[in-house]
Symmetry: C2
Subunit: 216 residues, 2 copies
Amino acid sequence: MDNCEAVLKLFLEAVQANMSSVEKKEDIYEIPVGVSNRHVHLSQADVNCLFGDAYQMTKIKDLSQPGQYACKETVTICGPKGAIEKVRVLGPVRSKTQVEVLVGDSFKLGVASPIRLSGDLHGTPGITLVGPKGSVQITEGLVVAQRHIHMNCEDAKRLGVQDGQVVSIEVDGPRGGIYNNVAIRSNDTSVLEFHVDTEEANAMSINSLSKIKIIK
Amino acid sequence: MDNCEAVLKLFLEAVQANMSSVEKKEDIYEIPVGVSNRHVHLSQADVNCLFGDAYQMTKIKDLSQPGQYACKETVTICGPKGAIEKVRVLGPVRSKTQVEVLVGDSFKLGVASPIRLSGDLHGTPGITLVGPKGSVQITEGLVVAQRHIHMNCEDAKRLGVQDGQVVSIEVDGPRGGIYNNVAIRSNDTSVLEFHVDTEEANAMSINSLSKIKIIK
């Protein structure tokens, strides 16, 4: 009887050890997903116009990328065909204002918005922003974000990719498929995350709990 | 001089003939795209509750599939977390009410909506619909549409597919990629068209002017 119990105990321990090793096993090629809704990055000059002179934004939530955060403040985006209210401002301030909308938003606004990586604003259309203290009409800066993967240089090495490279991402499930033209954005400080907007995430039924893998 | 003019005329005719043959050349594997926004199909019983006894819907626009049309009437969809106003009713009436929403809508409503083909409503969640004369709480019928291609039997033969088969679709361009799990829906009367919802279309930057091809 004692023997039998001892064997049972050893057996249970072995099963449990095995289970926890399965749970702990990380797939080094899995990449977390970050889903962005429409949002605005503002220059300090435009902050002053929209919210008042020398106004400082109020951080409400840190984002996954170091130093980036969501602010309490929102603005209205106005185009020739329509307006979109309560668009979140992200901090910190940037040298140039950049408005990132969904493809569906650009139909509503009535302005065709090119697909661009953040910061690549040359030749993009302008738009009007309205805040509680005034409005600004930017001459360029309206974009739809190109899907991309942030990572640090160690991640890039492990995943076998380089900053600026374009890869594809495969998604499983009933709305699965492949996203092409996914840009790698790698530097010393970034945190590993695949960034898509809400329309792209919903089209493939992925969310911020999903993990994806690169296919080249 | 006459000769020169004659040669020039012949040359111009040849160029024009060549251009029109290029314009006329159809790719027999290209499929038109239809983009659907959220919409509702109603049973006559639910029409009576929402719009009044024996109410008849008013057609405002024929849709691409024979006999299907958009109605003047709209309803509000209400879930535990939120409501969506002005949701278009499509006709004619059906035996069962079916509410087709976007993935983003199901977050707003607060009801997880399974991805289903039209008519496959078993086990789907219910939702509340509100019209000008009353409301109904359906016990099932809330779905996100599974992407599919309508076609007649000749199209299916030419494209080498069968009713019920699941294929993939490749899209080019800066937001290109592949949609998997695209269902073939073929019968005697359907018109060839790839149906996606607005989120799926925007995620790949396709619209109702796009043409796509099947990859298996």
